[in-house]
């Protein structure tokens, strides 16, 4: 299936849908334990990662903490 990930096209081979937990693994998302996931404009609860399906055409954003300023 084809997705848009952080504004760029991405493909997950051989699957029509995956849950968010699997998606994080498939895409080798760095610091997956701290990333915020936005699916089609909605911020997901971490507790919903296993039950939320990502499908063909969806848009996913991975947002990271950035704590510096000094």
């Amino acid at each position: 299936m084809d997705l848009t990930v952080n504004g760029k096209p991405a493909t997950i081979d051989g699957k029509e849908a995956v849950n968010v937990t699997t998606l994080l693994v498939e895409l080798k998302v760095p610091q997956a334990e701290y990333v915020t996931v936005e699916l089609n404009g909605e911020i997901l609860l971490r507790g919903d990662f296993d039950t939320t399906q990502v499908r063909e055409g969806d848009g996913v954003e991975f947002l990271y903490f950035m704590g510096g300023g000094n």
Partner: protein, 270 residues
């Protein structure tokens, strides 16, 4: 009305149709609080002072260190050892004697933040730790105070403006701080010196637009910047119904210190 000197000083503003004499007066009547007199705070303080924002508060308990000077452009070599807020105040009034600078040589905490932000129109987060970033978000949301969030690390930065009640807040995206030491700080991971100049200048721009009531604020979107790739991206955001501070059933109803988010160097400093 303006003095001859002020007309000259602000002529490049006054000539802009979006500013004019009326807008410049709004800036002179404006009150902006900068929390953090470091990398982000430095360009913010310099530009807001130069622009003629009449009252600028600046809060930081730290002293200038030699390792700050690679990026904190408001502090000079002879300032090493001086309180950052004092060093900043000297440069700000030297740029523009119209500006009244209020210094707070203290760290913000749940105990003092409400009183510090109360008198300001707009708040800017230029801090370097999650405890302060979440505290500023909560205090501003609860007080209905618009503010600019900024974060930097290595070659990357992000910023968003929060207008409480009207736009998503920091906790809408990041409901809770990461565990302490999970995410490196600038002192641990490094930061390219020009990076806070880019992000801080955007934050200062938001404060000016807010005071001028012109243009579109950076609300409902997180602006991310990669200096290495020289790319800006905008991630559209919606308010999160589950947000612990501005959602439908908030669990945070007063400012609290996120003690778990303090890193070791913060604890040593306090």
């Amino acid at each position: 009305m303006f003095s001859e000197e002020q007309i000259q000083r602000y002529s490049r503003h006054i000539i802009l149709k979006e500013v004019g004499g009326k807008g410049q007066k709004r800036l002179l009547d404006g009150k902006v609080l900068i929390i953090g007199a470091g990398g982000l705070g430095a360009p913010i303080a310099l530009y807001l002072a130069a622009a003629g924002v009449g009252t600028i508060g600046i809060a930081d308990a730290d002293e200038v260190d030699l390792s700050n000077l690679q990026r904190q452009v408001i502090h000079f070599t002879p300032d090493v050892g001086k309180l950052k807020v004092e060093s900043a105040r000297e440069k700000m009034v030297a740029i523009n004697p119209d500006v009244s600078v209020r210094t707070y040589a203290e760290w913000v905490s749940a105990a003092n933040i409400g009183a510090i932000i109360a008198d300001y129109d707009f708040v800017i987060d230029g801090t370097d730790n999650f405890a302060a970033k979440f505290l500023i978000n909560d205090a501003c949301v609860l007080a209905g105070k618009p503010y600019s969030h900024g974060g930097i690390l290595q070659f990357d930065g992000q910023t968003m403006t929060v207008v409480p009640g009207a736009s998503p807040c920091y906790r809408c995206i990041f409901p809770a701080p990461p565990p302490k030491d999970a995410i490196p700080s600038c002192s641990q991971a490094g930061v390219i010196g020009v990076l806070p100049g880019v992000i801080g200048t955007i934050q200062a721009t938001e404060a000016l637009k807010f005071l001028l009531k012109k243009g579109d604020l950076l609300t409902g979107r997180l602006l991310t910047y990669s200096a290495l790739r020289m790319k800006f991206r905008e991630v559209p955001l919606r308010r999160n119904a589950n947000c612990p501070v501005c959602g439908d059933n908030p669990t945070i109803t007063e400012a609290v210190d996120e003690l778990d988010a303090l890193n070791v160097c913060d604890l040593e400093r306090k």
